[in-house]
């Protein structure tokens, strides 16, 4: 499937590289960013970077809306881009968090037009069980220095381990991970849960759940910056 991805930023480049260099059915042909952000996008991106979203729609059959949650002011723009994509008959894969009403509306339009609207978000995770010991090897990565791009590290380690023949699953820190069939750590573990011992239990339980679902040889776990 030829895809465009929006809104493109340097944060999303490792995921674009991963997708385009893997055997994924998705192929990102264009990364679209707001005009003012164009000069900030790194040169080593593996696809064209453009600013005209409407024109890019003509060159794809699927639009990937990536996680943008650091930029609150983009929400209305994201909604309008989703609606425009559906209006022009494009499938949508959305990793950005949407309000319930907007999600329902987008799904409604997609159903009506017989298009695919895939909403890839964190699991709604509630249970805390007892501590379980994993069978898989777990590799933790995190950023101690601002210059280290842990998303890039995360994608490259998973890719390399898979190439070496290990069944590898990643658990990352933002919803863009779901573009590369990885999981995203539920925010709840680090925001709602106050006590450290409870956080450990939640994290362990989440990892255990991933292990039971995917049976990987290796789990690559990306820690949010504040938890390293």
């Amino acid at each position: 499937m030829n895809c465009i991805i929006y809104p493109c930023s340097n944060d999303v480049i490792p995921f674009i590289d991963y997708i385009n260099s893997s055997e994924s059915e998705l192929q990102i042909v264009k990364a679209v960013c707001p005009i003012i952000c164009r000069s900030m996008i790194a040169d080593d991106i593996c696809c064209d970077v453009v600013t005209d979203f409407r024109a890019s729609l003509d060159e794809c059959d699927t639009v990937i809306i990536c996680d943008y949650k650091r930029i609150r002011s983009m929400y209305n723009d994201i909604i309008s881009k989703i609606n425009l994509s559906l209006e022009f008959g494009k499938n949508v894969i959305c990793c950005a968090e949407l309000k319930d009403d907007d999600l329902k509306k987008a799904k409604g339009i997609a159903d009506e037009k017989k298009l695919k609207f895939e909403y890839r978000q964190q699991w709604d995770y509630h249970e805390v069980k007892c501590y379980e010991k994993q069978e898989s090897v777990i590799i933790g990565i995190g950023s101690l220095f601002s210059a280290v791009n842990t998303d890039k590290l995360f994608c490259n380690i998973i890719k390399k381990l898979n190439e070496c023949g290990y069944k590898t699953v990643g658990i990352g820190t933002n919803s863009n991970n779901m573009l590369i069939d990885c999981y995203s750590l539920p925010d709840k573990i680090f925001t709602s849960v106050k006590r450290s011992d409870e956080k450990v239990l939640y994290l362990n339980d989440f990892i255990n759940d991933v292990e039971l679902r995917k049976c990987p040889d290796i789990i690559v776990l990306q820690f949010p910056r504040r938890n390293v």
Partner: protein
Amino acid sequence: MTWEVAKQAIDFFAEHSKSFQSPTISFYGGEPLIVFDMLKKCVKYCEELFLGKDISFFMTTNATLMTDEIIDFLAEHRFHLLFSIDGPASIHDINRKRSDGTGSFASAFSAFKKTYERYGKDAAEYVRINMVISPVNDIDESFSLFDDKFFRNNNVVVSSSLADDEYLANKLTYSAEFEAKYNYYYFLSFLNEMKLVEGIKLPPFFKYKMMVFKREYLQFKRGINSLPDVTTPGGSCISGHSKFFVNVKGDIFPCERVSEISECMKIGNIYEGFDYDMVRKHLNVSQLTADKCKNCYAMLHCSMCQGHSDDNGKFTAERRLSYCKSSRNVFDSKIKNCILLKETKTKYTWRP
């Protein structure tokens, strides 16, 4: 400010911050809420123009014009707000009066509380108070503002500054009583920090000052090996580099704190761009006093900015040197604080 000037200033900023992910726009007055419609228009335009960037808005306000509609707008656009509240009504109302001569404390403080509540759990991060302390007022009375139960129930961030007489014809005088009381609060802050005395009641910003002292102490501990071959005294910014201020005519200044009527503080305008000759003069303002600065023990810790060399529109050495004593006093105080923090944090072991 007309919309044309505001728009051009925003465009100028966008053009000069292309590689910056998190631009910030601050609104100053007078009182920015006098032109609330203009402010709304600016915010809308910025959000469109900077779409994709993490833009933040800041505003300093006296809160006298705050309404529910305005509070909702500011909260919705996550404005960082600094409320100017100088103390309880008896202090605040001395300098902050309405056009009819009545004091503005009651409405300002009420608006502050309402805004704080409207921001919910993010309030401490976004809604703050700045208290200007004037030496002509009783400092204990100023601080009695914090006896209000609102401050007991909420962790409000309060900053303070001593009244600035930089551009006043009649300079402020600091009485011995004021200085004694002010320093006593510092003394209490240290006691509190050292946990030598329990139950000390302190105005909120003294806790912040202690954090600043600790940060300075850590910098002090790191030290430096030697002075670089080429350097400049501390204190001055690189004019126009990390921020700039635009006045109603579109003239550009290094920041909002310098005089807008001073020719030497003007570093360009939004139509013709930066005046690089003037920016160069700002960068090299310390050359006016190079010999003295090179031999000054506080050179790297100097707190004088370009504005301190502004002598009625011209940079002069005399003007700059007139601030040396107070700048060195600030540095001396920092050293004293660092020594005190070091001494009290050091555990000595007796060895026979």
